[in-house]
């Protein structure tokens, strides 16, 4: 496939400027410039993309339309006409101490620590165990474990990267637990990139003041996920086991008469049967919501990232924080069309690749924080009209990857970025010799359910870990702090939930909060229509018959399909 002729003209300019650029560092923006570029070009500041939430604990707060719709929606169980009374009278399909909703890195970490602390654990997940954004995280995991680094410097980087809006107690937990997490992963057999003497090979990420990005090639998340998953499977036969249920997403949480968490209602996706789980504590670790395609952006996210955990927690009264800010990863693939929006890891810039416009000129320091870097790309392509436009109309700027081998020696790209090389090679593009076209893509839900440092929430018995939680990263997460956060707060949630489960006498589960929810919706004048949790995005092409029934969705579907 490779590049068409008109793109090759622009590539020639990138190649022409490369020898000179190789030794030129583009200056970083100062704090005022950062602030200005965000306010003018970052998608979080497009006011028309947001609206007020009309019901529930965050009533009056701002959220993207797509998320507000999901939060306010009618519960699936009610839309589908189930009798709530009969559901709760049903004999439970399982009882456990701790129910973990979600089978990504946070869920696996939580399950392991809960089990180690004496709890019988059930993991219930929507797709396969390990189908999660964790699996797709490429670049690395941060921890201040080198001589020239300290948790305090890490703390400062997190706070500054998050626009000083982060919860200080959560950031403290994140940076202080980080070295312990790396050691834990190492002991479970994660193959980190190391020097022959065992020293971790670490590089910069956007917004880091020290080289503290630990990696496993560019499969860092996949390596962590498959190791954690295997360890969970190793404990299936323990006297106190961890069980795993796949293709059984939670569709509602159960409360008891004291309004403590009492379990969940699941839906088996193969048989469409409802299943009841009674649990003494529940950990929501169901990840983010990129598949809601905020503002029509394509996303790097996993197929199952539809924000279900936020919806479930919200309906039992948990407050959400920072849900008006999403992270757009600056380097989503902009060409070829087949991989539009898929992640090009920040590690490419960490290793030395620069960013160039259509004329082969640098226009931004390559390792600004993600929000600022993304805003700079958007400015270059819109206001300055110096982006490259593909034949399908997609804008983008060049990520000059071949520079890496010039700076670090031939073969570096092949050794450090095998997943990226493979990804582009499938479409005839050679990362070692050709730049790649990139544009911001929807990557991460910066906020979520408000948590405490033990991952607990305002609802007794409900814990939240990973991307579904809010407060750790403030208004922008740094690269490498997500793989870290899922382990730190997954472990903390597992520990705290297990301890809590020991002290609780199970009550009588009910779904009365849904009646109350419907009452509030009617009071707010909300209509029927969308139901939630969303569970899966629908990318099927709507046939004319469907459009005859719902003519108004035609436009929405067209947009959806484009962004898929």
């Amino acid at each position: 496939m490779s590049y068409p002729a008109e793109m090759k003209e622009s590539i020639a300019k990138v190649e022409a400027s490369r020898p000179a650029r190789q030794h030129q560092a583009f200056p970083k923006l100062d704090p005022q410039e950062r602030e200005d570029i965000l306010r003018t070009y970052h998608p979080d500041y497009i006011s028309g993309a947001f609206r007020e939430i009309r019901v529930g604990p965050n009533k009056g707060d701002r959220a993207p339309h797509e998320l507000a719709n999901a939060l306010e929606a009618e519960p699936l169980l009610i839309r589908d006409g189930f009798s709530l009374k009969k559901i709760v009278q049903q004999e439970p399909d399982a009882k456990c101490d701790v129910l973990v909703i979600g089978g990504g890195g946070a869920g696996a970490s939580a399950a392991l620590l809960a089990q180690e602390n004496g709890a019988e654990v059930l993991i219930s997940t929507k797709l396969r165990f390990g189908d999660a954004n964790t699996m797709m995280a490429q670049g690395g995991i941060q921890a201040a474990d080198k001589d020239n680094d300290s948790p305090a410097l890490h703390y400062l980087d997190v706070m500054g990267g998050g626009a000083f809006a982060c919860d200080p107690d959560l950031v403290e937990a994140l940076v202080m637990d980080a070295p312990k997490v790396i050691a834990w992963l190492e002991s479970l057999g994660v193959m980190f990139d190391k020097e022959p003497d065992g020293t971790m090979r670490t590089i910069h990420g956007g917004g880091t003041s020290r080289k503290r990005m630990h990696a496993a090639r560019d499969y860092t998340g996949a390596e962590i996920m498959r190791v954690l998953r295997d360890e969970v499977r190793s404990r299936a036969g323990e006297p106190i086991p961890i069980r795993v249920w796949e293709f059984r997403p939670a569709v509602e949480l159960l409360l008891d008469e004291k309004n403590r968490i009492a379990g969940a209602v699941l839906k088996d996706l193969d048989t469409s049967r409802l299943m009841i789980v009674h649990a003494r504590a529940v950990i929501i670790a169901s990840g983010g919501s990129g598949r809601l395609h905020y503002q029509g952006f394509p996303t790097t996210n996993h197929y199952g990232a539809t924000g279900d955990g936020l919806v479930l927690a919200y309906r039992v009264g948990a407050r959400l924080s920072f849900i008006d800010t999403m992270q757009y990863h600056p380097t989503g693939a902009a060409y070829p069309e087949q991989i539009l929006g898929q992640l090009v890891t920040e590690k490419v810039r960490g290793l030395g690749a620069q960013v160039c416009n259509a004329d082969g000129e640098q226009f931004v320091y390559p390792l600004e924080t993600r929000d600022v870097e993304a805003a700079a790309f958007i400015r270059e392509c819109t206001e300055r009209s110096k982006g490259v436009v593909t034949s399908t109309g997609q804008m983008g700027v060049w990520l000059d990857a071949p520079l890496i081998d010039l700076l670090r020696g031939p073969g570096t790209i092949a050794a450090e970025l095998p997943a990226m090389v493979r990804q582009f090679n499938r479409f005839g593009i050679d990362l070692a010799h050709e730049p790649i076209l990139v544009y911001p893509t929807l990557h991460y839900q910066n906020g979520g359910v408000s948590i405490r440092p033990d991952a607990g929430t305002s609802i007794p018995g409900l814990f939240v870990a990973g991307e579904a939680s809010g407060g750790i990263h403030g208004r922008n997460r740094l690269m490498g702090n997500s793989l870290l956060d899922i382990c730190v707060f997954g472990r903390r949630a597992g520990m705290a939930a297990a301890l809590l489960a020991k002290d609780i006498a199970p009550g009588n589960p009910h779904l009365a909060h849904l009646d109350e929810w419907e009452h509030l919706r009617r009071e707010a004048g909300l209509e029927e229509g969308q139901a939630s949790p969303i569970l899966l995005p629908d990318y099927t092409r709507k046939t004319s018959l469907v459009l005859l029934r719902h003519p108004s969705i035609e436009e929405e579907v067209a947009g959806h399909f484009k962004s898929n």
Binding site: P151, M159, G189, R210, Q338, P418, Y539
Partner: protein
């Protein structure tokens, strides 16, 4: 538009779509056989033939562009053995692996596994290294495995290279790769209470001072 066949039924789809998007275009709302959509999770292992071609081809549905005449079969689930083990009770040796997966020795080198691998891994070489007890080579050569299971489906000796090589890598990571000394040192410091006061100082600092410290912090070259 091009003609393809899905589960034996003909469909017309636009050129240039990946197999996964062609399925969705045709009306399939996927639950199984779809995952990260980015080539990392191994959920969408697919086999196909082309009309008038006897050969069986292998692909990840999310990473492969359709061709006219493709006859597609996705493999949503394939059983694979995984014996019970605890990493801490194993030693990093070929014997330990053969003890758990004795069928490794039945491999007769047909190389169908390597041909089936959409990641281009030399799976036969990985399995041979395991039999030789060369765990570092096996760990290195299998690292990019995404466990799609296509090799499992095709092995005439009933082997499960993804599970075997995952255990190899875990054993390598835990026992054979050199431990990080600086990490042990930092853990000792943290256990001794280091950095607590410094963090508390930052937590209680006024916002203006925190901003100032952030702005002037030294960036490692």
């Amino acid at each position: 538009m091009v003609d393809i066949s899905i589960l034996g039924q003909r469909y017309e789809v636009p050129e240039g779509l990946t197999i996964l998007k062609a399925l969705e275009w045709s009306g399939f709302q996927m639950t199984r056989g779809v995952g990260c959509r980015g080539g990392f999770c191994g959920a969408c292992g697919t086999v196909y033939r082309l009309s008038n071609d006897h050969k069986l081809y292998y692909a990840l549905a999310c990473q492969t562009v359709i061709k006219a005449g493709m006859i597609l079969g996705e493999i949503p689930f394939f059983p694979a053995q995984r014996p019970a083990y605890k990493l801490e009770n194993l030693e990093a040796s070929g014997e330990a692996l053969i003890g758990l997966y004795p069928e490794i020795l039945k491999c007769f080198g047909c190389n169908t596994c390597s041909k089936a691998c959409p990641q281009g891994i030399d799976v036969l070489n990985v399995m041979s290294a395991v039999i030789r007890g060369d765990l570092p080579s096996a760990a290195e050569a299998s690292f990019d495995c995404i466990a799609c299971g296509l090799c499992v489906a095709r092995c005439p000796s009933d082997n499960v290279p993804p599970n075997v090589s995952l255990l190899v890598r875990r054993l390598y990571g835990k026992y054979l790769s050199p431990p990080a000394g600086h990490l042990r040192y930092r853990l000792q410091e943290l256990e001794g209470g280091s950095y607590k006061a410094e963090i508390n100082g930052l937590k209680s600092a006024p916002l203006t001072e925190l901003r100032q410290q952030y702005a002037v912090r030294q960036i490692e070259e």
